[in-house]
């Protein structure tokens, strides 16, 4: 135990210049272990990735899993869940939960289709209006949580129902197909780029997901807002005593979640050429799973955005590799359950601080 002399902590007189060396983390075994475990939220992802390569079928001598088309598909397939999960991470970090995201996605998909096809709006106004709706919906939920002190589980469960109901009423219950062109009842061609790829390799939704993910990662690393988020989740009272605007942060966080769910809804509509009120059913659970597998605690106050991105990719790889191996759908369910627990266990290897 070559830790710096603990007695000096207490006994050193003020005049003594600070022992610089002692302030740095000692570059010993512990530091190495520590640094290693900093990336723990990636352990599960790496493990699943390696296993996927190993068990992937091959075709014409090529590893199917590793083929660029397949990898692109994986990221595309998780992009909506991933974007939602980014917003969900903020919510969970403050110790809340947002069950409404799937329904807001559906509402946004319906909104995108209706506004472009029926109301004949252009892409920019459509996107702005839809994002506004999502943000407002989220902010309203946040305000109810913050003002009335009702648990967010209940508020957003109610929000889920309400958003679903509104989407059904708005769309008349049916999916609204999106045809492209310049005519009436047609959406601008450019909207269909959402289902395209950059250079035929990187799907646009995947790109958006990664951009949002990296952006959120930076926000969480370097803004005061992020510190307030962690503080509220970690010790709300301390946050309040420190003058953190708890209510405002809370509302903002739910607004972000609504905003990102709406963005996912726009992408959903663009990818599927339709906005249906039933879109996104159950996505909330997948998104929460991504966040939690990524090592964020549902109790709030600890977690990382990198973990969430890893968690979303992990789920995507898992779905993909099971499908590639022709596993029966029912058996898949069981295997998926087991792998998720195993991956989560990997994320916990490190002993907790008592």
């Amino acid at each position: 135990m070559n830790s710096p002399n603990p007695t000096t902590v207490a006994a050193s007189p003020p005049e003594t210049p600070p022992r610089r060396g002692a302030i740095r983390l000692p570059k010993d075994r512990h530091a190495i272990v520590d640094n290693f475990f900093r990336f723990q939220s990636l352990f599960g992802l790496v493990a699943v990735f390696v296993i996927a390569i190993a068990v992937s079928p091959s075709r014409n001598g090529e590893n199917v899993f590793l083929s660029s088309g397949n990898l692109a598909n994986i990221v595309r397939a998780v992009s909506e869940i991933g974007i939602i999960a980014v917003g969900m991470t903020f919510v969970i970090l403050i110790g809340g939960i947002d069950l409404s995201v799937g329904a807001v996605l559906g509402l946004a998909a319906v909104g995108s289709a209706t506004l472009m096809v029926d109301s004949g709006l252009g892409i920019v106004p459509t996107v702005l209006i839809v994002l506004f709706i999502g943000t407002a919906f989220g902010a309203t939920q946040g305000a109810i949580v913050a003002r009335l002190g009702i648990q967010s589980f209940i508020v957003t469960l109610a929000g889920l129902q309400a958003a679903r109901g509104i989407a059904r009423m708005w769309s008349g219950g049916l999916g609204i197909p999106i045809a492209y062109g310049d005519g009436p009842q047609e959406a601008p061609e450019a909207f269909s780029l959402l289902s395209g790829s950059i250079n035929g390799v990187l799907p646009v939704p995947a790109l958006i997901f990664l951009a949002i993910g990296v952006g959120a990662l930076l926000v969480l690393r370097s803004t005061a807002f992020a510190r307030h988020v962690y503080a509220i989740g970690g010790n709300e009272k301390a946050a309040r005593l420190s003058g953190v605007p708890v209510r405002r942060v809370r509302v903002t966080v739910f607004a972000i979640s609504g905003l990102l769910a709406a963005l996912a809804g726009i992408i959903h509509a663009g990818q599927l050429n339709q906005g249906s009120p039933n879109d996104g059913a159950g996505y909330e659970l997948d998104a929460i799973a991504a966040v939690v597998i990524g090592g964020t605690s549902l109790a709030g106050g600890s977690g990382s955005m990198g973990g969430t991105i890893a968690g979303a990719l992990l789920l995507g790889i898992l779905n993909n590799i099971l499908a590639l191996n022709n596993i029966d759908a029912n058996v898949q369910l069981v295997v998926k359950g087991l792998v998720i627990v195993a991956a989560a266990a990997l994320q916990r290897l490190r002993p907790r601080i008592a």
Binding site: P6, V9, S12, L241, G243
Partner: protein, 512 residues
């Protein structure tokens, strides 16, 4: 420096349900003075300063700052008015770093609007250095010892550069060396014209630094005195309404056989947690009927030793021998320890001792449930009676056993933790800073109680950072340094100097 008060509180009153925590209190703070606030546990000290610091916004009475009436609706308001507060309970965010905690809510920004990490770190380091704390500001607060967290709280308050600084029991978790540092800092602040409100239960500190003492009793001002004139007894008289009898040295029974015997105890943790000092060669013995003290500097490993003895330490390989009553003792967990008649009062009452939102009664009986149930069913009348007796015996000030523990004053919360473990009627009682935040009257009662428990044959091992407490209470003092026993001082040869010398790792001959 003028005598014009920085802050004038007039007619302050506050009720919590049926409890009148403060009524009609007047208080002034002038620039450059240390105004001490004294009173029993539950007298209303924290409530009063919560009013001043904006935590409590609904109250009776008025507050003036610089002669201007103010009304604070949040802690931020008070901070803006130049009033900074170190709250009694550690209110830090475990998942954030030291620097982030110190600047929470007012992070320095770069031109891009992001947090200026470097500036934050530099300033945090500087403030910590003033306090003599050599801590990396990037460390997570959750990995700090309680004392270190206390220093972070103080550093945070200093960084606000307030004109009025409120300190609610800032030294409760500090050892003497840090206390000295803090006092040096306070002296500087006072010279700079800062007005300080200082709350403590340690009379010696008050005598050392206070310019004025206001004593609260049952929510009202019992009197304001000049400590240079008034004697300690006068002040205590004001506080508790009677004089507190001399505590110690009453006729003690002869100790019995050795109950706890620890030889060469060392724990090699499976994965070391930075900052923890696991036992690394502990030798000590406690006889029944004996009170043995554990001394050491912050981080000497007292807490970890007690945790290990209670089966609550970190997991890892264990060397050495521990016996209780001649039988080997190696508890698999707290449950097993309790089953062997070992009880433990942890140092961190809020984190490890109490279910804050639960009732006083629920907390008191938690450990002893099995003796209050038949076939798994709780015997309510018995439970109620037991709780009532415990509360009465420890003179807990609570409106009712059914109110949440969180609403009790700090010292009374400590008594609840105590009560819970005593209900187990252990043969060995492990105590970690048992009188932290306890008022002088109650402390005396706890000391009496410990003596009587010892006289009834209980063995007590007590870790404390208050040397006077160890000196007057213990039959022997075991001094730890970096997890090892470096001295065992019998009552006769235990002096403040001897203990400190040993604690600093100076060579001391083992005696006794």
């Amino acid at each position: 420096m003028t005598d014009r008060p920085l802050v004038r509180m007039t007619g302050i009153g506050k009720r919590f349900g049926g409890v009148h925590a403060c009524r009609d209190i007047d208080l002034t703070v002038t620039a450059g003075e240390v105004h001490a606030l004294l009173g029993e546990n539950g007298a209303g000290k924290s409530t009063l300063i919560n009013v001043l610091s904006g935590v409590i916004s609904e109250h009776d009475g008025t507050i003036e700052v610089d002669g201007e009436p103010v009304s604070f609706t949040s802690p931020a308001d008070a901070q803006r008015a130049g009033i900074a507060t170190i709250h009694q309970e550690l209110d830090l965010v475990a998942g954030l770093s030291i620097a982030e905690n110190m600047f929470l809510g007012r992070e320095p920004r770069t031109r891009l609007g992001t947090v200026d990490l470097r500036k934050m770190r530099r300033q945090a380091e500087a403030h910590l250095r003033t306090l003599g704390a050599d801590l990396d500001p990037r460390r997570l607060v959750g990995s700090l010892r309680v004392g270190e967290q206390q220093l972070v709280e103080i550093g945070r308050a200093l960084s606000l550069r307030a004109r009025v600084l409120i300190m609610d029991e800032p030294t409760a978790a500090l050892a003497d060396a840090e206390v000295e540092r803090l006092f040096a800092t306070i002296a500087e602040l006072r010279r700079a014209g800062v007005g300080i409100v200082y709350i403590s239960h340690r009379m010696a500190e008050i005598e050392l630094i206070a310019d004025r003492v206001t004593v609260l009793r049952n929510g009202t001002v019992a009197g304001t005195v000049d400590p240079r004139v008034a004697s300690r007894d006068d002040i205590i008289q004001l506080m508790v309404g009677r004089s507190v009898d001399a505590l110690f040295g009453e006729g003690r029974n002869e100790p019995g056989d050795v109950l706890l015997d620890v030889r060469g105890l060392a724990v090699t943790p499976r994965r070391p947690v930075p900052g923890r000092t696991e036992p690394a060669g502990v030798d000590l013995a406690v006889r029944s009927g004996e009170i043995v003290g554990l001394a050491g500097l912050m981080g000497a490993g007292r807490t970890e030793l007690l945790e290990t003895l209670f089966g609550a330490g970190g997991s890892g390989r264990r060397a050495g021998q521990v016996t209780i009553g001649d039988r080997p003792y190696r508890p698999s967990g707290p449950r097993a320890a309790l089953a062997r008649g070992v009880a433990f009062v942890p140092e961190d009452r809020r984190g490890a001792g109490l279910m804050l939102e639960h009732s006083v009664a629920d907390n008191v009986v938690l450990s002893a449930l099995s003796s209050l149930t038949t076939l798994g069913l709780v015997r309510r009348p018995l439970l109620r009676r037991t709780v009532a007796e415990q509360l009465t015996a420890l003179a807990v000030k609570a409106a009712s056993p059914s109110i949440p523990v969180a609403t009790l004053s700090g010292g009374n919360q400590q008594k609840i933790v105590f009560a819970k473990q005593l209900l187990m009627r252990p043969q060995l009682l492990l105590l970690d800073e048992p009188t932290r935040g306890v008022d002088i009257g109650a402390k005396a009662e706890i000391y009496h109680l410990l003596h009587r428990l010892a006289d009834s044959g209980m063995a007590i091992l007590l870790a404390s950072s208050e040397l006077p407490e160890l000196l007057s209470l213990c039959d022997r003092v075991v001094v730890l340094h970096r997890g090892r026993t470096v001295a065992v001082l019998p009552r006769a040869s235990a002096t403040q100097q001897a203990i400190l010398a040993a604690a600093n790792g100076d060579d001391v001959k083992e005696s006794g």
